[in-house]
Amino acid sequence: MSETIIQMKEVNKWFGDFQVLKDINLNVAEKQKIVVCGPSGSGKSTLIRCINRLEEHQKGQIIVDGNELSDKTKDIEKIRAEVGMVFQQFNLFPHLSILDNCTLAPIWVKKTPKKQAEELAMKQLEQVQIADQAMKYPGQLSGGQQQRAALARALCMEPKIMLFDEPTSALDPEMIKEVLDAMVNLAKAGMTMIVVTHEMGFAKEVADEVVFMDEGMIVEKAKTKEFFDNPKSERTKLFLSQIL
């Protein structure tokens, strides 16, 4: 197995008195694809938002590409630039065209020359098959197109790791496939991915490992085939029977 790129050790997090994450241990190796699933409110989003420090954990250790995340972390922006994220609600910048959405961070954060940034953006937009929409504004695109644009935007930073927080659950059924296809292609290209999703078909096709969370804990973590064929915990079995 190749090198570990994300390490979470005994991570705990509270929102006020409410403990969202309880003793999370999770290692992700380079190029590994991990799917996280679990019931609503179990802390999946919080877990992956801790990885790029959109949320701060209070106890334990998170190490991303050799950098520990804590209050003292300098240049948190540098680490975030290496970790792309795709959100449930797309979160494109509505005041910018799709192309400008894709070039904004490369130009201002990575200082890529404008022309070069635009070339890269067009390449990424072609990858997700919406190059023809580059000049439009987010509001003029369908949900599926917007989510693919959001994926292209994240990839324009050339991240080492990609996080997905339920990327298809705000989409109409007929658009889910186009987004999943783009994600499958990305997986095949060798990206390290952590994906929160309930699309079990995607999990079976792409994931190396599946993590099942409930009430802030990792209840089960297993190789994909093992997870579906032979789940250990009762709660996992119950969850799978509801979702499959």
Partner: protein, 420 residues
């Protein structure tokens, strides 16, 4: 019995008949009103007084009732009915408004134009019963330039011609040049304005700020206060949302202080109390102190307007920016503020309008802009009794300025809507 009366109910079949009688009744009502108010002739004097007083309304009401025919097929009639005559209440409002205009407009026109005097040199030239615009005419230069020396007025003119020309040019050039013009207006022009007006360099005679005044002073104060209050307000708004308690609480304290005190007090303190805190021998021009005071005062309001815009943005925008590696300032300057400011264009315009209309208050510290000059002129022994003309003139000038600003803000709003 009731059945027989249905011929009185407006109907489509006898459209022309109803329109005819409707118009007739309406016309009688208007005629009655006009003859009553302008020719002192009461055509309904045979009626009891109270009834006679209401006859225009009654006739008009019946007339409008008769023409209230739904789906008549006549386009003009239909839109009339829909907009100003949809029910009896609506028709009464319409009538009252028409009556008000009929009675009011001639009075105003007579006072302002037909019975007014425009030209002359003294109050004796005002022989008519209407407005005495001679007052404005004679005082015009003072109203515009204050006590600025007559032979130096060209300096004020040059400054404002530069302003008007650059703004005018900005409307006709492309985005790129426009950007430079805006930078010029914001960062270069203010200094040109100040050095031209105050002089003391380039061989220009020095002119103290207490000689400035009139409309040009209104503009100067407004321009500077607007330019400064915007960034200050922005920092305060961001500060109020900061995660550092020191920054947050000092922003809150600052905003609440300035919002809590009346501008008149602030101005007074700026001119009377503030110098006491300055070390001996230092001197800060009164006009500068006043501009600082107005800037901080309006910045507090601006901060709250901007904060409203910031709050309207979903958390996802912050998440997206951060996840792309943007620092606090990049996130705010590139993602958050452009969206927030778009949302609050009406609020920003509101604050700027209030600022412009607040400038006359500098009167309390002895600076005389347009309204202040009028105040002074009307107490001149030779010109006692022309306050109305003066204030109407000032009102009109302020209205034109504010209306222009308001139209501009609406056009900005429209322009940025297409981006969505």
């Amino acid at each position: 019995m009731i059945d027989k009366l249905t011929f009185l109910r407006p109907s489509k079949e006898r459209l022309n008949l109803f329109i005819f009688f409707g118009a007739l009744f309406f016309g009688i009502g208007i005629y009655d009103l006009i003859s009553n108010s302008f020719f002192s002739e009461n055509i309904t004097s045979f009626l009891p007084e109270i009834l006679s007083f209401f006859t225009p309304l009654i006739f008009g009401f019946v007339g409008l009732h008769l023409i209230r025919i739904e789906y008549s097929g006549n386009k003009i009639l239909d839109s009339l009915n829909k907009n100003i005559n949809s029910n009896w209440f609506n028709s009464i409002l319409t009538l009252l408004l028409i009556f008000l205009l009929i009675i009011g407009i001639p009075v105003i026109l007579n006072w302002a134009f037909f019975d007014a005097n425009f030209f002359g040199t003294s109050k004796e030239d005002c022989t008519n019963s209407g407005a005495c615009w001679v007052f404005i005419n004679v005082w015009f230069e003072r109203l515009i330039y204050g006590l600025y020396p007559n032979d130096q007025i060209w300096r004020v003119n040059v400054a404002f011609i530069i302003l008007i020309l650059t703004v005018g040019v900005a409307f006709f050039v492309n985005q790129k040049i426009k950007k430079y013009i805006i930078i010029f207006l914001l960062f270069v022009f203010p200094f040109i304005l100040i050095s031209l007006l105050s002089g003391g360099s380039f061989g220009l005679e020095k002119i103290a700020t207490n000689e400035w005044g009139g409309l040009s002073l209104t503009f100067i104060i407004s321009i500077f206060a607007i330019i400064f209050c915007f960034p200050v307000g922005m920092f305060l708004a961001l500060g109020r949302r900061s995660s550092f308690p020191v920054i947050r609480y000092s922003s809150i304290g600052f905003i609440e202080f300035w919002r809590g005190v009346p501008l008149i007090t602030v101005l007074f303190m700026a001119s009377v109390m503030f110098p006491m805190f300055l070390p001996d021998g230092t001197f800060l021009d009164k006009l500068i102190r006043v501009i600082i005071a107005i800037t901080l005062f309006e910045a507090a309001y601006m901060a709250e307007v901007i904060r409203g815009g910031l709050q309207a943005l979903p958390r996802g925008q912050y998440d997206a920016g951060k996840s792309l590696g943007m620092s606090y300032w990049k996130l705010h300057l590139l993602v958050i503020l452009p969206q927030a400011l778009k949302l609050i264009i009406p609020g920003i315009a509101n604050t700027f309008l209030a600022l412009v209309k607040d400038t006359p208050l500098i009167l309390v510290v002895g600076l005389l802009e347009l309204v202040g000059m009028i105040d002074m002129a009307k107490t001149n022994p030779k010109w006692l009794g022309f306050a109305a003309e003066g204030y109407v003139f000032a009102g009109l000038v302020f209205w034109i300025i504010c209306y222009a600003m308001s139209r501009y803000s609406i056009s900005l709003e429209k322009k940025y809507k297409t981006d969505r």
